[in-house]
């Protein structure tokens, strides 16, 4: 589906927030597949978490890292981008209690969407990144704790440090919603197991199609082999059998 781009701004060095027209709805945790070239190279679409959808305008946040994100980064308002979706499973925390949102780098995108959809929920956000430049959209959360690896913003170190200090973590009432690099997710999964918290993790994997037919994105879980794009990207803590 060709979608008209409303805006595409470089929000931090190398990070872009793109807004485009989108008819239909989506739920927090889901993603869309963006076509990133006019011709055949790069060939495959790239999955992008939905960072929000309001009044027929969807937003995504992406980092220009490689071949597939170079072209989207050059798009301007008025240009078109080909988008299909939404695809994938959704965040579904219990109706009550504090939600602990943990985002690494561009992993904040689905958390931002969830927060917008649930403005009155008690929630605390923990945003981590390599440096100040990698902390995105932290102003989108009411309670926010920041950690950077080089200490250039917030606490120095990993995002798990402020997380485990939070009262709702310490008293085990908090429910985790986490999205970010695989290493971070695995660490959180192990912490949650050790400390007896529950929650959900949004995983990343190379995707060929995004809608369940190429079988290129499987991951092993306690419930058997699952497709990250259909049964995921959101899995419960304790469900994923970590490959690495």
């Amino acid at each position: 589906m060709k979608s008209k781009i409303a805006s595409n701004r470089e929000v931090k060095r190398g990070y872009f927030r793109m807004e485009f027209e989108f008819s239909g709805d989506a739920e927090p945790g889901q993603f869309v597949m963006l076509k990133v070239a006019e011709h055949n190279d790069p060939l495959l679409r790239r999955p992008m978490s939905i960072a929000g959808i309001e009044n027929g305008v969807m937003s995504v946040i992406f980092k220009a890292v490689g071949r597939g994100t170079a072209l989207p980064a050059e798009k301007r308002s008025g240009d078109y981008i080909d988008v299909i979706g939404p695809f994938g499973s959704i965040f579904s925390p219990p109706q009550t209690g504090t939600v602990l949102l943990v985002g690494g780098g561009i992993g904040v995108a689905p958390l931002l969407f969830w927060t917008r959809r649930n403005p009155s929920r008690m929630a605390a956000a923990f945003i981590g990144g390599a440096s100040e430049n990698d902390i995105l959209c932290s102003d989108g959360f009411s309670e926010v704790h920041i950690a950077t690896e080089n200490g250039s913003l917030g606490r120095k170190g990993l995002v798990t440090a402020p997380l485990v200090d939070h009262p709702a973590y310490r008293d085990k009432t908090g429910y985790l919603l986490a999205c970010g690099p695989t290493g971070m997710l695995k660490a959180i999964d192990q912490l949650a197991a050790k400390d007896g918290l529950r929650g959900e993790l949004s995983l990343e994997e190379r995707m060929g199609c995004g809608f369940g037919v190429c079988l290129g994105c499987v991951c092993d879980t306690t419930g058997g082999r699952k497709r990250m794009c259909v049964e995921g990207p959101v899995f419960k803590t304790g469900e994923v059998l970590w490959r690495i």
Partner: protein, 305 residues
């Protein structure tokens, strides 16, 4: 409306635009995004006697204008296919080509016999690019003598349902393999399956595919596919179904002009889920514009003057 019908053995297809095995799931995944009854047929993910969980991850990677996959023939198995998938597929009115494979000759025969008996399976497509466990891992499709024998065995159990044999491009000369299928009584040839390829992640210095080698598909391979399809067409009288890198109507037309009776779209289903339906519509528009009354009048019209 041009007459787009083509025949594969006893089976008449609405139009010559099919979707390729392994890129269209069991069809149902697509019915939300297109009308799967509008395309010539779809080929199921390759089916085996027992369900398979396939290879370790990572299984896919992107390459220039292409991709490599090493899914390892993950599938639900013929039992689940029959009970869980087929009833829903029948509802859609789609024409179904069941792609299948085995580890042994006996496997092949058994799977083919079962599929041939299933209502709603309209034709069989035999994938012979799999290692033969009985023969120490040599591919079933790697030896023309053996391929002819296997084709004949399967033809016997396929009954009235057309048997399509899908050829591997990883051979020095595809023509003896095409001839083997014809001599073995196969109703049609489909070509090509994926080319063997490899890719390395230079950051980790590891193969991008866990199993090191995988199958290359997508627009990158189209010239190789077209050449092999043309060679098959020149070798046999049975229909040839062209596969490999089709992304546009022009690509499909290239195969038809070269003599393919139909085409299959593979990798591009991932990029544009409704591509087969679009190409079928565009083919009709093209024929009308060019005053081609029957699409069969287009097939094999390559000029070399």
């Amino acid at each position: 409306m041009a007459d787009l019908r083509v025949r594969i053995g006893a089976l008449e297809l609405k139009n010559p635009i099919l979707s390729a095995s392994g890129t269209f799931g069991y069809g149902l995944e697509f019915s939300r995004m297109m009308d799967i009854g509008k395309i010539g047929a779809f080929c199921t993910k390759g089916l085996s006697l027992k369900p398979r969980s396939g290879n370790q991850m990572p299984r896919i990677c992107e390459t220039p204008s292409g991709m490599i996959n090493s899914i390892g023939l993950e599938n639900v198995g013929i039992d689940a296919f029959e009970t869980e998938k087929l009833p829903a597929i029948r509802q859609t009115g789609a024409t179904v080509i069941a792609n299948f494979f085995g580890d042994t000759e006996a496997d092949y025969v058994q799977v083919a016999r079962r599929l041939a008996a299933m209502e709603g399976v309209h034709a069989l497509e035999m994938n012979v690019s799999c290692p033969n466990v009985d023969k120490g891992g040599i591919e079933f499709g790697g030896d023309p003598v053996f391929l002819e024998k296997l084709t004949a065995m399967i033809k016997k159990v396929a009954g009235v349902k057309p048997l399509i044999v899908k050829l591997s491009p990883n051979v020095a000369d595809i023509r003896p393999f095409a001839a083997a299928v014809e001599n073995g009584g196969g109703d049609a040839i489909s070509a090509i399956n994926t080319l063997k390829g490899m890719s390395i992640d230079v950051k980790t210095r590891r193969p991008k595919i866990k199993r090191v080698f995988g199958g290359l598909s997508g627009p990158a391979i189209k010239p190789v596919a077209l050449k092999m399809v043309y060679e098959c067409v020149k070798t046999v009288k049975i229909p040839v179904i062209g596969i490999g890198g089709i992304a546009t109507l022009d690509d499909a037309l290239e195969f038809l002009i070269a003599g393919a009776t139909a085409v299959q779209v593979g990798t591009m289903n991932f990029v544009e889920p409704s591509i087969c339906q679009r190409l079928a519509e565009e083919l009709n528009a093209f024929c009308e514009r060019e005053n081609i009354i029957r699409v069969t009048d287009l097939i094999g019209t390559l000029r070399q003057d």
